[in-house]
């Protein structure tokens, strides 16, 4: 009994340590050193400055790449939700062979590696003579986001008691009113979670974007294009990273506090 207790504690501590050491520590280093008064990265404190923030957000290429990332992430999230929600209902509520095949068809892109999605779209666009742009990159993201959203929403839909919808119609609501007042409010938190996760991965994505972007770069692709090539770029990247971390923490905290999602 005592050993199992110790084992549990050990496992919990071990996980906490791993997460802390490999994620929080490097991130904390970045945040702290983005205020360090050195034009490159050294593990040594030389004094506080906001210079890198000013520099970063006055560089056109940085700001543009951030806007591009934001644009793609918003577009991907909105379009993918609109495309993925109706079929999720069908996949959860439907029956039979056609449904099973449909589900397989929708879910398959989920297991295709990003690099393959990226490269095949690259060839596809080239073959059809489609000029690559932010939009073509967003399409690449959407391909992958649809199965992601289905995966995130389906468990919530499965857990809904279909009798609750029957009760609503029994009480006089039409199918549409039932969706509006009974189904949607129950699924809403899961939709918000799915939207957040989709937004984050799309904002972050490098591999698909790299092969499907035109001349305009997103933030991750821009970082790739400059790192190791431009001198003294580290402080700028670190400053932007700090801002991204702070902004997303605040936004997520707000959403959770408002009770829009059911984590925490």
């Amino acid at each position: 009994m005592e050993t199992s207790r110790l084992l549990k504690i050990a496992l919990v501590v071990y996980t906490a340590f791993t997460v802390g050491f490999f994620i929080y520590l490097p991130v904390a280093v970045i945040i702290v050193y983005s205020f360090n008064d050195v034009p490159f990265f050294i593990p040594e404190w030389r004094g506080f400055t906001l210079e890198w923030f000013v520099k970063a957000f006055t560089r056109r290429d940085v700001v543009t790449s951030l806007w591009n990332s934001l644009y793609i992430a918003v577009f991907t999230t909105a379009v993918s939700l609109a495309l993925a929600i109706p079929p999720t209902f069908y996949v959860v509520r439907g029956r039979g062979r056609v449904k099973d095949l449909y589900m397989l068809y929708l879910m398959l892109p989920f297991v295709i590696p990003w690099i393959i999605i990226g490269v095949s779209l690259y060839i596809f666009y080239w073959y059809l003579g489609i000029e690559k742009s932010l939009l073509t990159a967003a399409l690449g993201h959407i391909v992958y986001s649809i199965p992601l959203i289905v995966t995130l929403l389906a468990p919530r839909l499965y857990s809904l008691d279909p009798d609750i919808e029957r009760a609503s119609m029994d009480l006089g609501a039409t199918p549409w009113q039932t969706f509006r007042y009974v189904v949607f409010p129950q699924v809403f938190p899961a939709i918000v979670s799915a939207a957040i996760i989709t937004f984050i991965w799309s904002f972050d994505n490098f591999v698909i974007s790299y092969y499907t972007l035109g001349g305009e770069l997103t933030w991750p692709v821009w970082v790739f294009s400059v790192i190791g090539k431009q001198r003294n770029i580290f402080p700028v990247v670190m400053a932007v990273s700090t801002v991204i971390i702070l902004v997303s923490t605040v936004v997520i905290a707000y959403i959770v506090k408002k009770g829009y999602v059911d984590i925490l």
């Binding site: 609750i164 029957r166 009760a167 119609m169 029994d170 009480l171 006089g172 009113q177 129950q186």
Partner: protein
């Protein structure tokens, strides 16, 4: 009580198939205005399916439904004047008690003041007015139960359908709610169809009982009739306790049939039987008597045996008697008359006309 033969709902030869299973087979039923009809049957007998078809939540494979003479077979649920209390209640989990109960009126666009008034009224009726602003997920089982009933009752449906609404509650609470539901039915005065697999619940609540098995409606009638004159062995054994004897008839004369059951002679009322026929005779434990002396009189069937087990049930006692032919039968006796002990040699007897002969 059932008020005359004013039929509010007519179920006409309804069948329902799910793939290979027939959930309902050729069910016909008249429901009377103002009655509390209980549909009783074991799990899987088709009770919920019948209720859902009446509510319009399921479509019949064949057959028709008429409400006050109008064919409603093809109406969607939201256009029917019925309301259902679901087996697992199906309250809206994201809403408060008030929002749940107000839902149907809100959908109908009833003005807010009237909704408020009627919600208060119906919550008082089911005695949970003080819970008005609670989330329904924060209520006890019995309280949720009342919300579900209130949510339906507020619409003043012509027929209230209740699908084992007390299934999830403990025995004591169920018994309390039985009494309350009876009162509520009297107060509201509309027609109720109540589904259960619990025969005691059926006997407590019902005006009339319909017994279902394997998708068929086997017998419908006043509860006393169904109890006293079951039409089949299944009904006799499903409602109440009974002793069942398989009797081969060898003589029918003067309105009395006589035959033998494992060495004992048994007589009962003739139901158009012929010698050579085998029937089942159902005798309720409370219609059996025990004594140490043989009974005087010709109108009794008499067995002889030894008291095997005595089961004390408070106000009454069940004796298990091992008869001379080795079979066990059960006899109930009021506790004040329970003067026998295991090992006592006794006569067990009943009047001819208390045995119910059944062909199926």
């Amino acid at each position: 009580m059932a008020k005359s033969a004013d039929v509010i709902l007519k179920v006409d030869r309804v069948s329902k198939r799910f793939g290979e299973t027939w959930a309902l087979r050729d069910v016909s039923l008249d429901v009377y205005r103002g009655e509390l009809l209980v549909l009783l049957g074991p799990s899987g007998s088709g009770k919920s399916t019948l209720l859902r078809i009446i509510a319009g939540l399921e479509t019949a494979t064949s057959g028709r439904l008429y409400m006050e003479g109008v064919d409603i077979t093809d109406l969607p649920p939201y256009k029917r004047d019925t309301s259902m209390v679901f087996q697992h209640l199906a309250l809206f989990p994201h809403m408060t008690v008030y929002e749940n109960v107000a839902y149907g009126l809100k959908i109908r666009g009833v003005p807010k003041e009237e909704i408020d008034r009627r919600v208060d009224e119906v919550l008082s009726l089911v005695r949970i007015r003080e819970l008005r602003d609670r989330k329904v997920t924060k209520l006890s089982g019995g309280q949720q139960q009342r919300v579900a009933i209130a949510r339906s009752l507020i619409l003043r449906p012509k027929i209230l359908l209740l699908d084992e609404p007390l299934g999830a509650l403990d025995l004591k609470l169920r018994k309390e709610l039985h009494i309350e539901l009876k009162r509520l039915h009297e107060e509201v005065g509309n027609t109720w169809i109540f589904v259960t697999h619990d025969q005691e619940e059926a006997l407590t609540l019902a005006d009339r009982i319909g017994v279902m098995n394997e998708g068929r409606l086997i017998q419908v009638g006043e509860k006393w009739d169904v109890y006293d004159y079951p039409k089949t062995r299944f009904v006799a054994e499903f409602i109440g306790e009974t002793n069942m004897f398989t009797v081969s008839i060898d003589d029918v004369s003067g309105g009395v049939a006589t035959g033998s059951w494992k060495g004992f002679r048994v007589s009962f009322k003739d139901g158009g039987f012929r010698p050579g026929e085998t029937i089942y005779l159902s005798v309720r434990p409370e219609n059996l008597h025990i004594s140490k002396e043989p009974p005087a009189g010709e109108e009794y069937n008499v067995f002889h045996g030894v008291v095997d087990v005595e089961v004390f049930r408070g106000s009454y006692v069940i004796y298990h008697i091992r008869l001379d032919n080795g079979e066990i039968i059960r006899v109930t006796v009021l506790s004040k008359d329970a003067e026998f002990d295991p090992g006592d040699r006794v006569y067990v007897y009943w009047r001819f006309d208390k045995g119910v002969p059944l062909r199926e």
